[in-house]
Amino acid sequence: MPDLHFVATVNDRKVSRSAKPHQRLLDFLRDDLNLTGNKEGCGAGECGTCSVFVDGVLMKSCLMPVAKAQGTSIETIEALARTGELSLLQKAFHKAGASQCGYCIPGMVMAATAAIRANPFVGREEIKERLGGNICRCTGYQKIFDAVEMARDVQNGTLPATAFAEADAEQGDFIGKNVRRIDAPSKVSGALKYAGDMTMPGMLHVQVLRSPHAHARIVSIDTSAAEAMPGVEGVITSADVPGEDGFGVFVNDQPVMARGKVRYVGEAVAAVAAEDPLAAVRALEKIKVVYEELPAVFDPDEAMYDGAPVLHDYAPDNITMHVPIRVGDVEKGFAESDLLLEENYATQAVEHAYLEPEAGLAYLDHDGVVTVVSPSQNITHHRRLLARILAMPIAKVRFIMSPVGGGFGGKEDMIYQGMLALLAMKTRRPVRLVFTREESIVSTAKRHPSRTNLRMGLTRDGRIRALEMKMISDGGAYGLSTAGVMRKAAILAAGPYVIPHVKIDTFGVYTNNTPSGAFRSFGALQTEFATESMLDVAAERLGLDPFAIRRINAMRDGATTHTKQKLGSVSLLRALEAAEKASGWEAGAPVSRGDKRGDLGRDGNRPPVSLGARFETAEKQQAAE
């Protein structure tokens, strides 16, 4: 493979060195020049974390073969604050609070820089369009747009530069005040190192072999050919796990790598550490796994039938968790009701899609302490689990939490840290694993899909007398956080409403789907979606305003919840009032008004999607000339 001799100017410095012909510009910048400010969020042109300037034009460096950049002048995020002083835009991002997890921010700053360079008077609509190729999962974009406007105005002299310096909160007085994030400068400048940005001398690269089957017995795994390859320093399977091979949040039912059988497509089966990622990829191809396919089950209702395929021996009924709640007597409540409603609700799996795909680094330190650096949302728990898995005293296991490039619950599970620790111990070298976006989607937890049957009884004046709910959730192949999610789903199912008779059952069920796990709201979304939707149905049927029916039933200060928790203060009424005001609510029972809706075209409503703000700017400019 003849390397190519690559000559370019990168951040004002001449670069002249060899590059691999298949490298993308992003690989060359990050791996060879160690310019890790720009990230790889997707590798497919979809996210914008990799945006760099090539001869002054912003490009997605994951879509650019390095050979295309031959002879060009390249600017990465590191170019913008090279003097040590942040650029106007970087200062504005800091001031406006536009960086949260920060993973998208280097790319955002680059795109914003391009927007202001293209049009120094760029308006908000045009800013949105010009930043259209960059995705952020944390901020909701508004603060990012605010920051671009602020930088534009300072640059144009319509806002004083002191705007950046203005103090936000008095020292020691933070509640209800705008507080600047102390980590923002490191994020807007690209200086912050996420796990995938870190390297160590002698570091090996890890790749994971994943199951192509949803349910199959592993007859044999032969790693000898992979181990014999030059550049391969270690191959592991479940046979390399010295201790109790199980992790999870509530039940430790998941082995570090599949043990005896695979339970979902994408489950880790073996892992390789090699001198470079390509050698590791090649080694995966050499691992021979013989599978014997087993009948699989993909529907949680079917998984609960007698005779359904069983995933885990300890749970012959495939039930991970059942949470029952009983208050009063629902049949009595229904008998006292004037209106009886019954509906079925369903929610789907959702991927967290944090912009930072999973990544981690592990090494043995000089005292033989195995150290795992990763964006884990639960390091103390992981440390305890890993000590048991490795059969090591806990003092010999260390977890370091690297900056989390977005988690939303999706990084609570110890999906890959065990493999890293085992490979670091086996090879006695630092090892690093960086997931691709596809790998992250296929192998990590999702929000629980659910099916809910809900019955509600109300009196004519809108009071809920009884609520009966049965929710069945697809927990996927392993337990992870399912037990906790089912508990929270049950606890919050009846909402913040006074209901004398309540019967709730939530079930988390094993299937051969991708495991479900923690995700913002942790189960509340699924059950409350049903309850809140039903309240709207009830309002319609009873001719009540949807806000009014909620006020009628609202818990107030001092209320006791359905699970007997005494609430000191309840802010529901205040929240309702604020929501009613902010939404421009038109009071009254829900009716379908079609194009007679009074709220169409109101200030602040969003017009239909369009693009082309830049043409209007051009037309205006032409008219002015």
């Binding site: 012909p21 042109g45 650019m64 190729g133 693009l611």
Partner: protein
């Protein structure tokens, strides 16, 4: 991952053909590489090993541009962004800048080429309907028996199916020639799941030329994609509209005509609604940009559709 042993950047068509001959059966042509790199990933082609990648983006002939009175000719490696940045191209092809602004995002269209868009031949490709509305012909070249053999054919017949064209083995797309339509109003309507970085569910290119009163349609060009395996020129609708006034009732009748052409595999009903709406919006926008008499386009029509 796309793995190659050699990445070649020929400086001329001759060099490109020489490389293609040398690596016959073991090469792949790339221009912007924006379709090729995402294709070689998990869930699609997976890891792909190709002996030689032949990058044609910098070949001068593939970057030429000539704008004449009647026809405009541009190289296959013209990046989509150039249709936004080059005023001469924009004037000659009034719906191309509108199409370009909807294409991928500001960054990708600096790499993505019009030739790659044609050869990839996605049924939802955004570039092709505009080109078809401009009566595009493609110019192809190959090395046959030591000589460069060239041929031309209409773009409409060059694209033969989803991801299929009449490109022959060893052939390169060199240039595209289109009708120059200065003075036409152009519009491009697109809908997908979001605004940027999105495959069209439906897209429509509309070009309208009005007579001097600004009330009568002298010429109109319409092409649509995303509703079936191939992009379609709407010749019958054009015939119906040509020579007539731009009135509400006429536009609505025209808008209903292509609704029955929807033959996509999914979401047919939704697409039918979109087609009707896009026809109205596209015609109104194009007419407005062609300098339509303000009184001719009823304001309520503009409010509803434009």
């Amino acid at each position: 991952m796309l793995i190659c042993d050699e990445y070649l950047t020929p400086a001329s068509l001759d060099e490109a053909f020489a490389a293609m001959e040398k690596h016959r059966g073991h090469y792949r042509v790339v221009a912007g590489a924006t379709d090729t790199l995402p294709w070689a990933r998990q869930g699609r082609a997976g890891d792909v090993h190709i002996r030689a990648l032949i990058d044609v983006a910098k070949i001068p002939e593939l970057n030429e541009k000539k704008t004449g009175d009647r026809r405009v000719r541009f190289g296959a490696a013209t990046p989509i962004q150039r249709f936004l940045d080059d005023p001469a191209l924009g004037r000659a092809m009034p719906c191309m800048p509108r199409c370009a602004v909807w294409f991928a995002d500001d960054q990708i269209r600096s790499l993505a080429t019009i030739g790659g868009n044609i050869i990839n031949a996605s049924p939802a490709a955004d570039g092709t309907p505009c080109l078809i509305a401009h009566e595009a012909t493609v110019e192809l070249a190959a090395r046959r028996g030591g000589k460069t053999a060239r041929r031309k054919m209409p773009l409409e017949s060059f694209i033969t199916g989803p991801n299929k064209t009449a490109l022959e083995d060893g052939e390169l797309l060199v240039a595209i020639e289109c009708d120059a339509l200065p003075g036409y109003g152009g519009s491009f309507e697109k809908v997908g799941h979001r605004r940027s970085l999105v495959i069209s569910l439906v897209c429509l290119a509309a070009l309208v030329k009005l007579d001097s009163t600004g009330r009568k349609i002298e010429d109109v060009r319409l092409a649509i994609a995303g509703i079936g395996p191939l992009p379609l020129r709407l010749a019958e609708v054009e015939k119906f509209l040509r020579g007539g006034p731009i009135g509400m009732e006429r536009l609505e009748r025209a808008a209903a005509m292509p609704v029955e052409l929807v033959a996509s595999r999914t979401r047919q009903e939704y697409r039918r609604d979109v087609v009707r709406g896009f026809m109205m919006r596209g015609l109104i926008n194009a007419a407005r940009r062609a300098g339509a008499d303000a009184a001719a386009l009823a304001p309520e029509l503009e409010a509803a559709y434009a």
